[in-house]
Amino acid sequence: MKPVQHKVPGTDTVVQTSRRSFLTAASTGVAGALAPGQAISETLADVPPRAPGAPLGARSERSQYVQLARIPEATPGKRDVNPAFAINSKAPLDKLYGTITPTDLHYERSHAGVPNLDPAKHRLLIHGMTRKSIVLSVDDLKEMPTISRVVFIECTGNGWENWKSADETLTVQNMYGLISTNEWTGVTLQFLLDLVGRDPKSTWMLAEGGDAAGVARSIPMTDEIMSESIVAFAQNGEPIRPAHGFPIRLIIPGHEGNLSIKWLRRLKFGDAPFMTRWETARYTQLQANGRARQFQLHQDVNSVITTPSGMMTIKPGFNLISGLAWSGHGRIDRVELSTDGGKTWKFARLNSPVLAKAQTRFELEWVWDGRPTKIVSRASDEKGNLQPDRDTFIRKTGTNALFHYNAQQPWAIDALGRVRNVLA
């Protein structure tokens, strides 16, 4: 099959107004280019007539024409596992729009299954280096002043498939599905700390979950963390779902997902890190010299093109490039796109709203000339952090860190339009 050659117009405006002709040209050049289903309604007469619909229900279900699901997976390289052996479940980034992840598709990482907690019996103990120790019920928390905030949570393992090599059968969901953005509602950590009275000598907070593993992390009491963190009881307007921490969880915007302890039941204040398993044996980043970075807590600036992405096929002519960018340091400042493997870059459009420590949607129109190439995005945040290319990143970090992978993600496109994961 010969690739179709198209002259690339000089501006994006031209691309948008001539989309129809590009599609026509493409379909004449590529045998069987129309996907099944695309030609079903040739004329308006073919559109089914209107008819009375189903009864109104207590809940809205998805259309029968829409299939959306997470993928439960194990460690890198272990896909298609029995869900009983999965350690995380990845959000379908390639099938989502905008920036808010549907609640039932928010990624999940759990260390000992999903506990079934009765909110009437759940308690939060706050103690340690404080003026007093208190026990709060979920109802107590709901009577306090609340705040809501839209933020991403990202597992530090997001992107970990590509540390050593690129499996070309991976989708963006397999590789980047460990991040989601939701609105979280609850009580500020600062309010709770004021309730118990902080000892000025306390510098670290232990947060512990009510799951079987009792997942616990030491959290440095920085101004940023203390002013932005939330003990949340609601997610996208409803009580938090069990997989995400029902009835209450911690939300620490911009930091390792593991710090946002689910099923929260204890906050203890102290004057040193507690050195739990999850901040020593896990979630530390082994560098090439054999030593490990510890308490690398911010999620660094990152981005990925979600359409087109791994295992998709595109046609020559007009293609809308769309993706997500995020930074644990603040707002996304700009996203640049390259459609020639990083030789030249263009600014992508950032869709509103662009919120600090939330995912930002970016888009750019592109006319593919049918020749093999690579497309790649790179994001910068308001603090001036730039997402590194892979060579720069690996030179600094080595390939053993396992967590905190934020190198640029290129997708290779061959002459048949097949989009595949590559390292660089």
């Binding site: 079987a212 040193a272 020593t280």
Partner: protein
């Protein structure tokens, strides 16, 4: 829902300036007895260590009854993590991170076993059994002799092989206690 509390909450919301002295009305004081039930964390400096102890020999029995099914007969791994070996592998292309090669503190191991293990019934072992199985895992990694023992005093003498293998982020250096 009593009205004064609602009024207080609204006042706090509106003022945005939260005065701790006013916010004393939520929840209830925790009693020392109930705190003890949940206050299980153990720090490397020994804070939180429970009183107790055990032998490597007894730990072998505890391990075989509770741990081997997931972690292998000798800690070589299975459904659960590998626990033994890997020393010298951290700079290789395939590092093997185990208790012996990677974990910096024996206290972390005690804390973890106590809070999270065995997987199906966390917290079901006695404190003495916790110490014993930690002793056995240290012995499997050559850190304690086969006839060794471990208790709340001697655990603080254990120096793990990778104790100095971690570099805290410079960002939080001011938050770390002086060494």
């Amino acid at each position: 829902m009593c009205l004064p509390r609602l009024a207080l909450a609204i006042a706090l919301l509106v003022s945005a300036c939260i005065v701790p002295a006013f916010a004393t009305d939520f929840g209830r004081p925790a009693t020392p007895e109930e705190i003890k039930l949940w206050d299980i964390d153990v720090r490397p400096d020994g804070k939180g260590l429970p009183a107790g102890g055990g032998t490597v020999a007894h730990g072998k029995t505890v391990y075989e009854q509770n741990c081997a099914v997931c972690h292998g007969a000798k800690g070589e791994g299975g459904i659960g993590d590998r626990l033994v070996g890997g020393q010298g592998s951290l700079t290789s292309d395939r590092p093997v991170k185990t208790i012996g090669s990677y974990w910096p503190y024996a206290t972390t191991l005690l804390d973890y076993v106590r809070r999270a293990m065995p997987y199906q019934a966390p917290g079901s072992l006695s404190v003495d059994d916790d110490y014993a199985v930690v002793a056995y895992l240290l012995a499997l990694n050559g850190i304690l002799p086969p006839e060794g023992t471990l208790d709340q005093e001697s655990i603080l003498e254990i120096r793990m092989p990778n104790r100095d293998g971690f570099v805290p982020e410079p960002e939080y250096r001011a938050f770390l206690p002086a060494r």
